[in-house]
Symmetry: C2
Subunit: 203 residues, 2 copies
DNA sequence: ACCTGAACACCGTTCAAGT
DNA sequence: ACCTGAACACCGTTCAAGT
């Protein structure tokens, strides 16, 4: 009721865009649909997002990224913190599966929104004896791994229960496995990666 | 000259679509553009790709995937083969950077096109003493890692030399590092991951 | 200042019609 | 059998006009 008359703002536009994307995917996120969500005409949006659709989608990425950054508590222990980084990242992306592909395609926006977190991770890793160069590489490796994992996860989910469609027994096994234990595979991969990184501590 | 009169076929349509995507991105890959590439009207495509644009894009993913599968020589040594899998995958995706995001969003098509390869990898890993369950997990972890890495790489490239745009010194460092050594970071991450997996051999 | 109607140059896709 | 013209219901975006 009263919210109907709330004035438009950049934040409200971006929020509405995220709501539309969560509900109907990126395909369904037209300027007209976002405007409809706000009870307004499409052309009104351009006053609050002058850069048009691109700027609006950048805003959505930044918003999801902020959600994850704020949920992540750091302890100063590099291994615990890198794990928290990856797990909270995956959790935020799982809440917005349709946004994952957008984040992957907008690394600049993503990095910008998580500077503080990444900076703290660097410190923890250097304290633990990593070379600065390796700390830089490790953060990129883990964050890309997390995005790649969550992306595959989100798409496999979307593809649905195709497992029994395949005539190849191996594929049936792979896809059955996929739909059964995403959490297990995530933890398996994350721990393997962290083990491999730990072996690279140089001091 | 003579190719102008070659009859249309599913394969020629998919080839043309890949050419358009490589040149102008997914955005630029309209049915009209692909038809133009073939000197034909948009509506003609539907006779060879009855499923429309979606089926055409599935075909593009399968074609790039096949390119990578055929380039990958296996030795029977799990670690060498897993490395070859990841490196050749990255190489094929780097040749078609605009296709990476499409592959990530179509895991079913991707798996279907690489069954033989994945099957051989499983055997090699079981021979090396991995539990079957861990071999399944490892293949998914490495393939998603490779996609995630290449995706970030392709997008960072596209974003261009934004490094000096940032006011935050940490971001400048991260982005400078990004544009300098993608190969180094890839090898660093891949070896760390393989080390972590190797530690999980159970026999 | 903030919103909008009409218009422009595009989309993917259908369907009846041409050869 | 294979290709196409015209048409439909959509896009993102601009711009002049309304309040």
């Amino acid at each position: 009721m009263s919210t109907d008359r709330e004035p438009l703002s950049r934040e409200r536009v971006v929020e509405a865009a995220l709501a539309v994307i969560d509900r109907s995917g990126i395909q369904g996120c037209s300027m007209r649909a976002v405007a409809g969500e706000l009870g307004v005409e499409a052309m009104s949006l351009y006053h609050h997002v002058p850069g048009g659709k691109d700027e609006m989608l950048d805003g959505v990425v930044a918003m999801v990224q902020t959600e994850f950054v704020e949920a992540t508590d750091l302890t100063g222990d590099w291994r615990a913190d890198m794990g928290a980084f990856s797990r909270e990242y995956r959790a935020a992306l799982s809440r917005h599966p349709n946004v994952v592909a957008m984040i992957a395609a907008r690394p600049a926006v993503a990095y910008r929104s998580s500077t503080v977190l990444v900076g703290a991770l660097f410190s923890a890793m250097e304290d633990a004896g990593f070379a600065r160069e390796d700390a830089l590489r490790a953060v990129r490796v883990v964050s890309r791994w997390t995005i790649g994992f969550t992306l595959g996860e989100a798409s496999a989910l979307e593809d649905g229960e195709q497992a029994d469609e395949f005539d190849e027994p191996l594929l049936v096994e792979v896809f059955t496995d996929i739909s059964r234990g995403e959490d297990d595979v995530f933890e398996f991969g994350l721990e393997a990666l962290l083990d491999g990184l730990e072996a690279r501590i140089s001091s």
